[in-house]
């Protein structure tokens, strides 16, 4: 045996320094093994940590725990009384059923199993955030702000989830705001499928009796676990019919009702009264509640239809319910637009404060318009009486869609889609023939389109808005005499027209319409030159040349030392373009042109990558120093001339 080790064991034993032990732990702390995750999983004996209680219901409790295998926090559901075999089976059934539902708006089940003591559990996605009932409560207390539009977006997602579940033949049967969880990042998840039922499976409940689940929920402990008021009448008394998709639709109607009114559809002092009122179908319409805020009539109608006592009168499917909400959202006037009107009215008053007589006149007209509005309100309320008729409902929705269509017309106009803009604005007026804002915009759109007669006609219907467009009206009156609406103004008349406007917005709208519709390249170029000068006031000395032969158009913009903005030349079919010796730094407007030749020596353009791809281009003049390596694309006959 080797005795190489010269130091004696005794000596080592005597000199060993116990205080160095701390460094062993220190060293192992930051040690990294090549397979730390593998090692951790291999060593895993207990998948879930102890957990902290985060919620407790009538049947089960929810713990927050960590899945040590995946390393993520999860929510774990366990039974409060795991000794009852029936409850255990139902609990596991809920887990299995939820696990089959794979939808972004349904809580995902990760794992089902038994604990060491054989108690059943299942784990789900752990959602932060709040339940919908909490959000609504805070909203009612004024401690948080959520727009109706956001609430309806949530509602649409709930509908999506239930619609999906129905497609799988599964009814939720316990939908209520507290079972909807809204995550921190806005994710909407329908939870607690404990009462869910597979429609094809035989009904387990005994006819004529209260559903035992609900019975338990309501009377066990004497506390209401669910929120009666979201239950459909047929859930309370099965003589009223089977539980069907319409049962969930009733609950969805209840949720919508709560979103609109911040209170449940049926509010009574005790459970029995709620149940009686439910069976009797005594849901007050939101307008009957005299709430301190407005509930849109069409949404009220949607909720009431879903909450009909008679399941056959409710929506036939969740999709139909969802579509109605969607329609309404599509026609929703943004709060910004509404505020804009009020604000401008106040500003108007302020402006004319000094002129007493005018003030009197304005006040008088305001009162008049208020009277008109309240008259209209009465009309609408009367109309609501007929809300069962699908047709009428569409009309209400249509009217509420009118402002939205104005907005869409504006959007179309801003992207120079003149035809689309007219279509939208006409639809808007179609829905609401007294929408003065719509008429004003219609006047503007026709003006840009040089349809001055139609423009005038529209402005004349825009009521109080007309005076904001004095300049438009005056010009239209003048020009409508000289030309029919389907004729184009020649460039000689467009240029003076453009000069009358100061705002780039109007100038560009008028100009782009010309460019899109001019038949003659000459008119094109004349207005274009005006625009170039308008956009490049910094360039004092102009050198602009345009020539045209039978088969080609030549544009020379070169030697305009300070010419930089050339967006206005887009859409003009130029074949030979010279932009050398200018400040031009953008090239996108040239890339769409049918260019055969492009001279771009001494410009500020940084990249010719996309220019090289112009399919028609045959000759390209560039600086030798700037692009020494530029090559034409494969199979192209492009010739690059370096100067």
């Amino acid at each position: 045996m080797s005795q190489e080790n010269t130091e004696s064991s005794e000596n080592i034993f005597k000199t060993i320094n116990p205080s160095l032990h701390q460094y062993f732990n220190l060293a192992s702390e930051d040690v990294s093994t090549p397979q730390p995750i593998f090692d951790e999983i291999a060593a895993n004996e207990k998948r879930y940590d102890q957990g902290v209680l985060i919620n407790q219901g009538g049947m089960k409790k929810i713990l927050q725990t960590t899945d040590t295998l995946t390393g993520r926090p999860v929510a774990m559901a366990t039974l409060l009384k795991p000794d009852d075999p029936q409850k255990v089976e139902r609990f596991l059934r809920e887990a299995r059923l939820t696990a089959t539902l794979e939808h972004p708006n349904i809580i995902p089940v990760y794992d089902i199993g038994l604990t060491d003591s054989s108690d059943p559990f299942f784990t789900m996605k752990l959602i932060g955030g709040k339940s919908l009932s909490k959000i609504l409560k805070e909203l009612g207390e004024g401690t948080s702000k959520v727009s109706l539009q956001n609430l309806l977006d949530i509602f649409i997602k709930i509908c999506d989830a239930i619609s999906y579940a129905h497609s799988k033949g599964i009814l939720h049967l316990d939908l209520k705001p507290s079972n909807i969880q809204i995550g921190e990042y806005g994710e909407v998840l329908v939870c607690d499928w404990g009462l869910a039922k597979v429609t094809d499976a035989p009904d387990e409940t005994i006819d004529g009796e209260l559903d035992p689940c609900f019975y338990n929920d309501i009377t066990l402990d004497g506390i209401i676990k669910g929120t009666p008021g979201f239950m459909a009448p047929e859930q309370i008394d099965s003589k009223l019919g089977d539980k069907t998709k319409q049962t969930d639709i009733y609950a969805l109607g209840g949720i919508l009702y709560t979103l609109l009114t911040l209170r449940p559809p049926i509010k009574k002092d005790n459970v029995q009264e709620v149940l009686d009122a439910t069976v009797a179908g005594e849901v007050p319409t939101p307008s009957e509640l005299s709430l301190p805020f407005n509930v849109p009539l069409s949404l009220e109608a949607v909720a009431m239809k879903a909450l009909d006592k008679d399941s056959s009168k409710r929506y036939k499917s969740v999709i139909l319910l969802r579509n109605d909400i969607h329609k309404w959202l599509g026609g929703f006037a943004t709060s910004a637009e509404n505020a804009g009107f009020l604000k401008s009215a106040i500003l108007l008053l302020k402006r004319h404060k000094a002129v007493a007589s005018l003030l009197v006149f304005i006040v008088a007209s305001l009162i008049l318009s208020m009277v008109t509005i309240s008259h209209k309100e009465r009309e609408a309320t009367n109309a609501l009486m007929l809300y069962e008729e699908e047709k009428r409902q569409t009309e209400i929705i249509g009217k509420e869609a009118s402002p939205r269509l104005v907005y869409m017309a504006k959007q179309a106009l801003n992207s120079f889609e003149y035809d689309e803009a007219i279509q939208f604005i006409d639809q808007s007026i179609d829905r609401d023939p007294v929408n003065q804002v719509a008429y004003a915009l219609k006047g503007v759109i026709h003006f840009y389109r040089q349809e001055f007669n139609q423009s005038l006609a529209a402005f004349n219907q825009s009521g109080k808005y007309k005076k904001n467009y004095k300049k438009f009206v005056l010009i239209a009156q003048d020009l409508s005499k000289t030309k029919a609406d389907d004729e184009m103004l020649p460039s000689s008349k467009v240029i003076p027209l453009l000069k009358k406007f100061n705002r780039t917005n109007h100038i560009f709208k008028i100009y782009r319409f010309c460019i899109a519709n001019y038949k003659s390249l000459d008119d094109h170029m004349k207005t274009c030159f005006f625009m170039l000068k308008y956009h490049n006031p910094q360039n004092k000395k102009w050198n602009l040349n345009f020539t045209q032969t039978d088969d080609a158009a030549y544009l020379d913009l070169s030697k305009n030392r300070f010419l930089a903005h050339t967006g206005c030349v887009r859409d003009i079919p130029i074949n030979h373009l010279n932009i050398s010796n200018t400040d031009i730094w953008q090239s996108w407007m040239f890339e769409e042109m049918p260019l055969i030749e492009l001279r771009m020596v001494n410009t500020k353009i940084q990249s010719i990558k996309d220019i090289l791809k112009i399919p028609t281009l045959k000759r390209l003049y560039i600086n030798k120093k700037k692009w020494p390596k530029a090559k034409p694309p494969k199979d192209s006959s492009l010739q690059i001339i370096r100067i």
Binding site: S2, P18, H21, D39
Partner: protein, 205 residues
């Protein structure tokens, strides 16, 4: 029994030296093994209150046993080699004690000295626990010895004083060096020491 962090980390490496012996059963790897484990077994024996001579005897017995057993030692991921080594050591100590007791009984019945009964004081699980801590201290000490040549004596002395609980300020005043310098010494030595501990731990497993 719960697994400590170090246990888990050791899983993939601790076969190294043992495997060498198992697979090759040659003199070189055996020498290495003895070099590292001889003192450790000795320390365990002394911790179980054996005197120097008895400890030396037990070390020899254990080493013989290891030599004979190791080639066939079924390496089980769930079982630690050192656990087994401690068991062997514990058994050897027990044997030694019984043997001595028998002799004592023969010679003088009255001289049954209960005070010298190592197995009375410590049970097997305790031995394993003691051994584990002892092993860690042993490795840490060996690591410090190994890195000693890399530093001046002064730096190492300062480091040992710091480890014993002296404050940098105190040391600084005594040795007339700034407290900051003391901290820098500590950082440097700690870094090297931890690195060496990890190396040894992986090599020896």
């Amino acid at each position: 029994m719960g697994m400590s962090e170090t246990d888990q980390e050791n899983y993939h490496t601790r076969e190294t030296l043992l495997e060498k012996i198992r697979n090759q059963h040659d003199d070189k790897s055996w020498e290495d093994f003895v070099f590292y484990y001889k003192h450790f077994i000795y320390i365990i024996c002394r911790r179980m209150n054996l005197n120097h001579h008895d400890s030396e005897e037990v070390v020899q017995k254990v080493l013989v046993k290891v030599w004979n057993t190791l080639p066939g030692f079924e390496y089980d991921k769930r079982r630690r080699f050192r656990g087994w080594l401690c068991q062997v050591t514990g058994n050897c100590v027990k044997d030694l004690y019984r043997q001595q007791k028998r002799q004592a009984t023969k010679i003088d019945k009255a001289s049954q000295d209960e005070s010298y009964n190592p197995m009375d004081k410590v049970s097997m699980p305790d031995i394993t626990e003691i051994a584990e801590k002892e092993w860690e201290t042993y490795i840490a000490n060996m690591a410090l010895n190994n890195i000693r040549p890399k530093f001046s004596d002064k730096v190492i002395e300062v480091f040992i004083e710091l480890s014993a609980g002296k404050s940098p300020k105190e040391i600084g005043e005594e040795r007339e060096i700034p407290a900051n310098t003391v901290s820098v010494y500590k950082k440097r030595v700690t870094a090297k020491l931890c690195e060496e501990i990890r190396r040894l731990n992986i090599e020896l497993g």
